[in-house]
Amino acid sequence: MITDTLQVPVDVLSRETGWRVKPVGACRDDVCVPLPEATLTDDLVDLPSFADRLGMPLLHDDEHGLWSLGPQSGGKAMTTVQAPDLVLPTLSGEPFALSSLRGRKVLIVSWASW
């Protein structure tokens, strides 16, 4: 996720990364990771502390005042076989959720115009 602040609201972080930060720690699916107490203050998550604990890179673009939080490292690209909540825009711009295809077998195929 891209952010211009290091204090990120809980709901924004959850929407962007799937991780919900609670007083007990960061939880996603049925996994919870304890966090240092200072990580969560008034529904704001301290991104450096969160990223460090979860093994996520946090890159900084000084010139543009931006940070980029990357995926967890150390394991595999896929940490679970449960498909993530992938939501992407169609060609006409409406959001389309992979989960809307539940009940069918799905082949996701990547391609590109280039």
Partner: protein, 235 residues
């Protein structure tokens, strides 16, 4: 293929990994019965470990991944019909393009793809579901998933910064971060080809990047361009 398999409870989700957005994807993605979506940030890379196109991922009725990303050609591309020795063609394309094609066409032919095995396996899975031997166990899906060392996680973050800057009209500033993603994850073709394309649609040499498509294909070997397909289960 999609039309044939759809009555058996199958759907194709077509994902255009295009940082130039829907406008770039539209000419190739319009007019199909199946959903076509645009992945400008290359989320398929971050979430599933996709590093090249076309890649296929199988997801079952319960939203469980039963095959992680792998080379997914639905059919063998038709061989090039261009006659490079035809004077009319030469006049039309120009000397430089002809010279380039003389190198590119044989390289394309060396790329390892196996559409027949892939499509046969897909049909088997759609028909037999979990009983198909091509539907891999959870352990095998995770075992096959690409490793994600810290540099590759950083590459995803760097690419995301580049994409964000490009999309918000700061294309020159994006180059630094795209270059950084290439340095951190040199085997990722989607990061490279995307960045090159935004500067030069032909993905040729540019001032912005030290590499280009043909140079990298020749250096790394066209036969290594696609990872070999391994349809049979390992376990």
């Amino acid at each position: 293929m999609r039309t044939e398999l759809a009555p058996q409870g199958f759907e194709l989700l077509s994902v255009a990994m295009d940082s130039a957005g829907a406008d770039a994807a539209r000419p190739f993605g319009e007019g199909f019965d199946f959903p076509v979506v645009v992945d400008s940030g290359h989320l398929l890379g971050e979430l599933f470990g996709v590093i090249n196109v076309p890649s296929g991922i199988w997801v079952d009725e319960d939203g469980v991944v039963v095959r992680p990303p792998e080379t997914a050609y639905p059919a063998r591309p038709a061989p090039s019909k261009i006659d490079l020795d035809d004077p009319t063609v030469q006049a039309k394309l120009g000397e430089a393009a002809i010279a380039r094609l003389r190198v590119v066409i044989p390289e394309l032919a060396k790329m390892q793809i196996d559409p027949d095995s892939y499509v046969d396996a897909l049909r088997d899975w759609v028909t037999h579901g979990a009983a198909s031997r091509f539907a891999l166990s959870a352990d095998e899906v995770l075992e096959r998933s690409r490793p994600r060392p810290p540099e590759q996680a950083q590459a995803a973050a760097a690419f995301a910064l580049g994409e964000h800057l490009h999309r918000s009209g700061r294309s020159a500033a994006a180059v630094r971060w795209f270059r950084e993603s290439h340095r951190l994850q040199p085997d990722n073709w989607t990061y490279r080809r995307q960045a090159w394309t935004l500067v030069d649609p032909k993905q040729g040499p540019t001032e912005q990047y030290d590499s280009d498509w043909l140079t990298d294909v020749l250096r790394e070997g066209a036969e290594n361009y696609y990872e070999p397909l391994e349809m049979e289960p390992r376990l």
